[in-house]
Symmetry: C2
Subunit: 195 residues, 2 copies
DNA sequence: CTCACATTGAGAAAAAATTCACAAACCAAA
DNA sequence: TTTGGTTTGTGAATTTTTTCTCAATGTGAG
């Protein structure tokens, strides 16, 4: 679905107003029926005999994916990875705003990263309400990840993205996703061995 | 498959010598038949009436995935993200070694990151042979990504991991994989909206 | 050695995902 | 208005994936 969105945005930028499922399928590298099934799943957007209106469809998918609003994120752990994410283009562009930078290290607190000031992790709860933070991102060293998660949960945030290579345990109503760099490398080396 | 491996490593650390497909399935959160099919796919490792020998199975999977040897990687683009990867634990632990750090910026060249010295990207080809680099990792800004890719291809490296939010074009015999942080965030916000 | 029990490997069955195929609907031109 | 050319939406057919089932095989006790 995210692939369709990306292609649709490119089409819109090129000034295309209407696209058929077969052309879109070609651009996405999938089967036309696949596209029609996927799109029919959350509404009827096409016009028979015509195709899909690029802008309308793009907006509908964005709405479906929740990309028509901005999401406020907090980063916990301001090392190299945290700083990289704060400055990362693609994240901003998709409607995700990093509005808080948290760390435990007293020497870092008060330091500026971009236009954010690093705040003590203990103040996460207070700041989460003030800044309406919906997603917490953990970029601490592994041994601090669980503590970071605890602070995030405590602050009432219901979604966590964990970059630290450790499993964390949270209540059932909190969604967690893991970014594992090694997975990508395993895929590549696997491909290098087997066709 | 990578999940099985992780669980097996934990089991081995706990001193377990034998595991049945049903127990392993429980730990991985999948169906026992699934496990047996997956494992049977690349050999017969189990013993009927007994189960699987944890260490043997772990080694077999590692071999299958190509994790029984070390892979040499080069990072092109030494910003925050590049530095984060160089220092990242999980990567080293899986047998991937970052052996080269490359950047275009003359002010960075010669600087030390961990025990690596930043080298000019133009010397990538020469260094790739010397260091036997098999995987190139792009962590440049988007507008430099294609140029980085060109240098990597030029150096005869056949696998690229691109962290930059741009598509790159390379010859057919070069494998490319993309790390898109926004995908993870989209998943989380989607889950926050729909169950 | 034989028997009772446990567990794999693999074929059969079931479920899920993908693709096909075509009626229904739309547009444009005559 | 009618006709011909498109393209969607959807039920049917197909393919793929997952799960079930059970004979084959191994262990250990008697």
């Amino acid at each position: 679905m995210a692939v369709y969105l990306q292609v649709l945005e490119e089409l819109e930028a090129e000034g295309e107003e209407i696209i058929s499922s077969s052309k879109l399928a070609q651009l996405c590298g999938v089967n036309p029926s696949q596209i029609r099934k996927d799109l029919a799943y959350f509404g009827e957007f096409g016009v028979r005999g015509v195709g899909y209106y690029v802008t309308d469809l793009k907006e509908s998918i964005k709405h479906f994916l929740g990309l028509d609003k901005t999401w406020n994120c907090a980063i916990v752990g301001i090392g190299n990875l945290g700083r990289a994410l704060i400055n990362h283009r693609a994240i901003k562009d998709k409607g995700y705003r990093i509005v808080g930078a948290f760390d435990w290290d007293p020497f870092k607190i008060g330091e500026k990263v971009g236009d954010l000031e690093i705040i003590c992790t203990r103040r996460l709860k207070e700041k989460a309400k003030e800044l309406n933070i919906q997603i917490g991102i953990i970029t601490t060293p592994p041994n601090r990840a669980q503590r970071a998660a605890n602070h995030i949960v405590e602050a009432g945030i219901k979604a966590i993205l964990n970059f630290s290579p450790t499993r964390i345990s949270v209540p059932d109503d909190v969604i967690v996703d893991y970014v594992e760099f090694s997975r990508y490398l395993i895929y590549l080396s696997f491909k290098l061995i087997h066709g």
